[in-house]
Every structure is written in structure tokens, then in C-alpha cells.
Amino acid sequence: MNAALPAPIGLLAELTHRCPLRCPYCSNPLELDRRSGELDTATWQRVLSEAAALGVLHVHLSGGEPTARADIVEITAHCARAGLYSNLITSGVGGALKKLDALADAGLDHVQLSIQAADAGNAERIGGLANAQPQKMAFAERVTALGLPLTLNAVIHRGNIDEVERIVELAVALGAKRLEVAHTQYYGWAYVNRAALMPAKADVDRSIRIVEAARKRLEGRLVIDLVVPDYYATYPKACAGGWGRRLMNVTPTGRVLPCHAAETIPGLEFWSVRDRSLADIWAASPAFMAYRGTDWMPEPCRSCDRKERDWGGCRCQALALTGDAAATDPACAHSPHHARVKALAAAESAAGEAPAYVYRTIGGAGGDDRPAPARIPEGAAS
């Protein structure tokens, strides 16, 4: 490996886009890959072996719902053989519970289970699937009974932000070691649904206080990771730890992305594991090269002393909000668009009645006749 180019540490393996849930903030793209285009078992095994040789430590077996793959046990066993740390990111519904014992036997290291809310009715409204919550609870119980470490992941938004305390209690009751309180990131489906999901600033602040108090109270029992919402932040997150620095994302059909939303950026050329090795893609794929490092940065990033801390923030968000993927992430206080982003969030969250969700579905969100979410008006801040 080139000394200037660090090896990736994580691989997000999106094994399938199929999922029984229909969450309106799903991180998958609006145009979901179909089953007929998915990589076969042998290709995934090759990719995982290449990942281990390249220096990847963690593999996140994700989707969609990864247990919807008939070969999920074989894929997990291959991770173990290659020395990769395997993390199953699952909804816990459908056939997940039936496969769990075999996954544990195959050497699965960790389970991350999504919950949509603590209240069953609310959770099932958000996830768009009746009877999901009892399945999730049974799944969580079996994870801890098998001695596997359990993380609960709750995506937080207007529809469940009043349940943060209950979600913490649920994590403790289920024997989770970790809880991710992850405020929604507005890409893909969440971007389409932003006006329905955006919480008020006061509710965000309260949720942060609840997490900070719970961290102290539960130290040594439950680790709580908090992802704060960009639109109310002062500095942007280092998206994926910096573009092309730490993570690779392989889609169900084999395209390799620097982050899961990167396909929203027009003009990027993504290489596929069907044609090239993971090492070649990491080193030379045009998509990985496009925003790697700091040379691509405009001002105010270029002369900023934080440029190697947050790496300019998120390219997909810059594109979504300003129309320019190379702009400074408007989540940053130094962006000329920052005040407008905060105003946008405040206005959307203050609407008396949140709009109905556009649920995730194969075929995209195109059937909905609602106007696209607001960008910052052009020229507004210049």
C-alpha cells in the first residue's frame, strides 16, 4: 500500500436492498437494486478476501435486510475465515430470527439491531410493518441468550424524539451493550421526507441532555453513541471519516462507493467489483479520487485549520443543499449557506402538522407528486 494512502478499515457490504421494513429515512438510494442484479455468493466471498488483504478490519453486513440473502450464513462464515470482524446490521424481522443461531455458529461477532421507537404502535407506524416490534424483541432476546454483543440503533426524528428516554430504558432491558441514538441524516429517502422528519431545535437539545445524563448514570453498563443532526450543528461531520480515507461501500450489484449516498452525485464514475479488484478500486477509482484528501477543497475549507478533522463535511449534503458537490458542507458555520440551512430546519420543524411519510418502496419515490425538498435559493448568500 502506498504510504500516502492509508488502507481502508471498514467495508459496508450492502448485500441486498430487499427489506420487509419501509422506513421513510432509509439510507438506501431512491432507485433500489433488484434481486436479479445482486452479486452471487462466490463474488461476495472474493470481495471479502480482497478486503481482508487490503487491510479492512470490520465488515458491516447490511442491506436492506441482510438476512434476506439465502447465503448470509456462508458469507458470515467467510468473514470469520478471513479474520474479518463481522457486524450484522439487521431489522430483526422476517427470517432473521430463524437464521440467528446458524450465524452465531458461523462466527458472527456482533449484532446491530434497528428499532424505530420504544412504543410498539409508533415503531410499526414508522417502519411501515405491522407486528414488527414483537419480532424485534424476540430477536434481541435470542442475541443476548447466544452471548453475542448487541447494539441497538435508533434513528431519531420528529416522530420519535419524545421517546429517547424510553429507548435508553429499552436498551438496558434488552441487555444491549451499546445504543446508537442517531439523529436522521438527510439523504435519499430521508431527504425526500425531510419536512416530515425534521425535529425542532428545542427537542434536539433535550434529546442530547437525556443522552448525556444517561451516559453518566449507565457508565460501564451501556455505551451510548450520539449522532447529532447536521442542520443544527456548528461544524460538519467528517462524513465516512473523510472521503476515500477509511470506508468502502459495496452495493448489492457490486458498485463500490466512498459512502452510501455517493451515487446521488452526478458525473462520478464508480467502478464495480465485477470488473476490478477492491485494491484497484480503492487506489484509483475516479469516484474515490474525486474528493480524497484536501486538494479539491474550495475556500473556506482550503485555509481552515479543521480541514483534516472534518474533511470538508459531506459532499452529498453539499450537493443536495447547494447544487454543488464541491461546496463547503452547509452544516458548517463557515459556509455562506449555513444560516439558511438552520432557517430551513426551523421552518420545516415548526409546521403544525408533519406531512405524511413517503415510505421506502421498490420503484422509487417518483410516484409521489409532492414537490422536491427545498434547496437553499440560488445566490441567497453570496
Binding site: 488502507a7 478490519l57 461477532d109 454483543p149 451499546r178 446508537e180
Partner: protein, 93 residues
Amino acid sequence: MSEALTLTDVPRLPRGVRLRFDEVRGAHVLLAPERAFDLDAVAAEVLGLVDGTRSVSAIVDALAAKFDEDRAVIEGDVVAMLDDLAKKRVLDR
């Protein structure tokens, strides 16, 4: 809040936490849920002695003998390191 680690505790790495040598980077790493801890040679030495049978005290003894170092100094460092990992839920006792 959980109580601090003591010398009689017997630490162990729970399922889902693995110590391994990373060939690509030429260093030991502790792999845990959603995180990887880069280990220096000393930290790797300490965790290599965590086997679910040795007490913290026995780990300190082994290190003091191996490195011919003042036991009190080693004890402070080892307890602080293991206590921190326990708080992060990557070490059981």
C-alpha cells in the same frame, strides 16, 4: 455507575471483542463493536495476558517480572487501562 476495577478482578475479553495482529499496519489492534483500538506494544502485551483466569494482580506480577520494572508504576498503568476498557464495555470482569 459501575465500581472501579480492583486488583482481585479477573478480566476477560467478551465475545465480540478480539485481539489480533494487523498484518497490513504491522501493529496489534483490539476489535470491538463499531470500533477498533490501535494498540502500542505495551497495551498489546497487557491484553495478551487477559485470559479470563489471571487476576489484575497476576497480570501486573507477570509484567513486572518480564520488564524488570517497579511494580507500583505498572499497577497504576494497568488498572487505568483495563478500567477504561471496562467502562467502554469491551472488557468484562
